[in-house]
Symmetry: C2
Subunit: 328 residues, 2 copies
Amino acid sequence: MRRLPAIAAFLVALLCALAAHAQQGDPLPSWNDSTSKKAIVEFVQATTTKGGPGYVEPADRIATFDNDGTLWAEQPLYFQILFMVDQLKAAAPRHPEWNGNPAFKALAAHDEKALAGMQKELLQLLAVANSGMTVAEYDQSIRDWLAATKHPKFNRPYTDLVYQPMQELLAYLRANGYKTFIVSGGSIEFMRPWAEKAYGIPPEQVVGTISETKFEMRDGKPVLVRGPRIVFVDDGAGKPEGIYRAIGHRPVAAFGNSDGDLQMLQFTAAGDGRRLMLLVHHDDAAREFAYDRASKVGKLDKAWDEAKARRWVVVSMKADWKKVFAFQ
Amino acid sequence: MRRLPAIAAFLVALLCALAAHAQQGDPLPSWNDSTSKKAIVEFVQATTTKGGPGYVEPADRIATFDNDGTLWAEQPLYFQILFMVDQLKAAAPRHPEWNGNPAFKALAAHDEKALAGMQKELLQLLAVANSGMTVAEYDQSIRDWLAATKHPKFNRPYTDLVYQPMQELLAYLRANGYKTFIVSGGSIEFMRPWAEKAYGIPPEQVVGTISETKFEMRDGKPVLVRGPRIVFVDDGAGKPEGIYRAIGHRPVAAFGNSDGDLQMLQFTAAGDGRRLMLLVHHDDAAREFAYDRASKVGKLDKAWDEAKARRWVVVSMKADWKKVFAFQ
């Protein structure tokens, strides 16, 4: 019996190699054969070729993805803002003190332009509204909303609006030993209920904005209760900080679409060896939306300039992607 | 070629089963055949037996471990305090304002009893001392200290003082599909440099106390710089909160040794289905240390009472472990 494990291990390795060869095909079928796709494939091959100059040890293969506008759509407003608007409308009768609040005014007036720049203010109102809720109750309210509402343009559940080419990219990276994380300005609670199914990213790999929670005993049962404060904003300069807190490695590859991702990409680029920094450019009004420098949601301005200057990959949704959503 | 993957997959499964059978033996060789060991093995078998009443889906197999006193030793003082004492001594000439500070007084007087209860105060002094350091510089100072210093009783590097039976337990859980996390009152920075080698736990699975960091450009390079504030204390009621922030699942199994772990164990116990809550009791003065209710470091009092009342597993280091450290 002694030698059986070694023989088995050899046969397993041999058969895995054969199986991999037989199954090999295009790992990114929704991507056109553009320079963007070539840059991705070349990066993955270089960082996984043992003995090659770009090789990265499996333990260091960390890839971080922004969520809104990078993995799923974010127009006409971040979907979390749409959720918050509905939650705040429902809570408003209990909060007459909100009448003078600028964020609540924008909400009551359906002023989408103003709301787009007010995610933090809305989060703060909502944090007050939801203070005292257990995290399980809050989780359920998010699941209920996602199940009940549809996107105004596509008339489909929001969770259908994940980008097919990015799902393929996530799977391709994982198949090559990368651990994939979300690093988003959205709150952890809003992403965790569906990120595993949509992206294959489990709750413990979702890094985001964090609200205060407190451990309490209620009827002899321990619960976590939401407090009124936001304790960490995982956006802009907060992204590398969130990565340090939650992941503890510098990413080898980082993916974003807006100025809120710039520092994450800079931090990724500053490491040694091969790196991949990629921005998704929303230039496809027909299949999705077209916006960049002038947009309130997902503004792409400084990060775009830096990407051009430093030759980071800028994906054209129009030119680089065969399809945007799986349902198209 | 079409059928090759299916045939290969079948053969792989067959060979893996044979290899597993051949290699099977006692997964916990440093544990005596006590009720503690039986409870662990029975829990793992129940939660991994598909179709059984205790079955837990692989995605939910989350196990959290306290570090100090649970995975490695913590006497005569938490090792991080010993590190901080050395750092503070070195920094003292630059901080005359510390002269009236109670924590610094205890340190200058080598008052171990007083220091034991002052981890937070010492962390705050150190945070001030290290403010302005990049996280890379701080990481290096920890690695240098660990390489240069030895434990006063065992005269060995601190990283040798990890418990062999707990290393086996970590490996056993992982071999059964569990994802293992540290959830410690110690700071993330102090554990990450060595936890992967010592425990097989990568940086992104180390949850701990968090100090402020800020993203900055220095000489055109992005760096994370330490600030003077502690922003999250991952101890006591902070442990379930830290788990929620960083992991986002309720653990199925939790391991601790002191009252600082009580809420983590309560939170774990409050979930549905099979659960494992375990405390390590330090009752082995000959091979390690003996302390519990009266200790300033790793006080085990309320958690012990609750463990007895609720029939959680209480491990006797003396009776349950064949060896404590690998070098013994």
